[in-house]
């Protein structure tokens, strides 16, 4: 059936069924997702926060790592597009019975699903899944590799608040070595022309990260003096036990974002955090709740970005 076609509705070349990372996307593709997300933002403001776009589609969240907010955000995004969702998490799945990821994937595929959203503690697990099955695969975080939707959300929020990405000075502070959010931020921001610095003790800076196009800095004061955005990453307490830094107290003293440390930042700096926050560790409560903070905007925007990603990937047609 052909509707009287509007030329503006002609298909854009969105051919990807999988979104495994921002590293593999072009600048144009990233911008296209952000533009589409812009259109989806309004849906969540309606009295009926639901559109029938993905009616009849089935979307599975396959989470091998506990995460309430990311899973919920994806699930709500899918539901607002009228897709059916089901959730498999490691505690309930057969993973504990020793089933391999490949077998789990094949089983899910046999139930005729359209998109699988996977969170896994090991880098590359989504790639393994995407190689094995025909449904679209969206990476919701794999080990220390990437968390592409979080990266998109952060960039979307920066663009919303600052009006542009090109030339924006973004400082990422925290456990860069183990952070997938840092990597997705870096890839996406660099492709769109932002200037990115990473700040952490040397023990939490991975080897040769400069080759990803970022500046490495070990002093907050120096890094944030001309920052437009400070993206603060969660510090896991286990890192202290593994010997990456002496104590949470000292980490907070040297790298925590406090009202005092922000004194050297520009007056209109944005504070972001992918959550969940360790208040008083990497970020003080009064800063998280303060006027610079756009942390809750990130959460709201998360829905729009994930709706856009689901809409685009589920319309990408047959497997390559």
């Amino acid at each position: 059936m052909k509707q009287q076609s509007l030329p503006e509705h002609k298909s854009v070349e969105w051919k990807r069924k999988d979104i495994l990372g921002l590293e593999e996307l072009t600048a144009r593709e990233i911008e296209f997702i952000l533009e589409t997300a812009e259109s989806f933002r309004e849906v969540s403001l309606r009295p009926i926060r639901k559109v029938p776009a993905l009616r009849g589609k089935t979307i599975i969240t396959l989470f091998f790592e506990p995460s309430t907010r990311t899973r919920m955000s994806f699930e709500l995004a899918a539901k607002r597009l009228s897709a059916d969702t089901a959730n498999i998490s490691s505690s309930t799945s057969s993973v504990v019975k020793g089933e391999t990821l490949k077998d789990t994937a094949r089983n899910i595929e046999a139930m005729k699903v359209d998109v699988i959203i996977i969170r896994h503690s090991m880098a590359g697990a989504p790639h393994l899944l995407a190689r094995e099955v025909s449904p679209g695969v969206i990476n919701a975080g794999d080990g220390a590799h990437e968390h592409p939707t979080q990266g998109l959300i952060d960039i979307f929020t920066m663009k919303e608040k600052k009006g542009k990405i090109k030339g924006l000075k973004v400082v990422i502070i925290g456990d860069i070595a183990h952070s997938r959010v840092a990597r997705s931020n870096i890839w996406g921001l660099r492709k769109l022309g932002a200037l990115v610095s990473v700040v952490a003790p040397p023990t939490l800076i991975p080897a040769e990260i400069e080759r990803m196009g970022v500046r490495v800095c070990h002093s907050i004061k120096e890094a944030i003096s001309d920052a437009d955005v400070i993206n603060v990453l969660r510090i896991q307490r286990e890192r202290q036990k593994a010997g990456f830094f002496p104590s949470i107290r000292e980490y907070h003293q040297l790298f925590g974002i406090t009202r005092k440390s922000l004194e050297s930042a520009p007056f209109d700096v944005l504070i972001m955090h992918p959550g969940p926050i360790n208040r008083g560790v990497e970020l003080d409560g009064d800063v998280a709740d303060g006027p610079y903070s756009v942390i809750l905007d990130q959460v709201t925007n998360g829905l729009a970005v994930r709706m856009a990603v689901l809409y685009l990937t589920s319309g990408a047609g047959e497997k390559r």
Partner: protein
């Protein structure tokens, strides 16, 4: 491939048709309740023009919005890749309004069906009327326009093409035949 192109409306005819539509709308709908909603993309420009014509004689502020029906299309499962989604911008509460939905061409009726679903999700208007510039027949759903600029019955191999200054630089409506 376009084989043949037959012009049926020029700038003057389109202007006349819009004035006719505006007149009929003003006659039927109470000005306090009236709100215009154009369907992206050409319906949006037609709605803007109609609003301007009505404002010449009416001092009531007329709320206007733009509806993107992409997410309500009934053929999404058949289209790959999915069409671009644009913003729906309706900056007023449509509940209890008399909505006039505006589009350029009425053909199968599926776009209007999608628009009706979208509107119902946004609130509960008192009524919804449909105004189109051209009705070309060949309906696939039981949907009719309340106000029609021009009626023409053409075959399945023919298409109506609407050009507007806002998007194309000139105003014209033509029947084109595909080879």
């Amino acid at each position: 491939m376009i084989k043949k192109r037959l012009r049926i409306m020029g700038e003057i005819e389109i202007e006349k048709a819009l004035r006719h539509l505006s007149h009929m709308i003003m006659r039927d709908v109470s000005h306090e309740e009236l709100a215009l909603i154009g369907i992206r993309t050409r319906g949006e420009h037609l709605a803007t023009r109609i609003k301007k014509i009505i404002s010449e004689t009416s001092s009531f502020p007329i709320p206007m919005g733009i509806l993107d029906i992409t997410l309500y299309r009934d053929d999404l499962t058949m289209i790959a890749p999915h069409p671009i989604v644009r913003k729906t911008e309706i900056p007023f509460d449509i509940t209890k309004k008399a909505i006039v939905l505006i589009d350029d061409v009425l053909f199968t009726g599926r776009t209007v069906r999608a628009a009706l679903d979208a509107l119902i999700d946004l609130g509960r208007p008192r009524c919804i009327r449909l105004a189109v510039l051209v009705d070309r027949g060949s309906r696939e759903l039981p949907i009719q326009a309340d106000y029609t600029g021009k009626k023409t019955v053409i075959s399945a191999t023919e298409m109506i093409e609407v050009k507007l200054k806002e998007t194309d630089g000139y105003d014209e409506t033509a029947i084109v035949t595909r080879a």
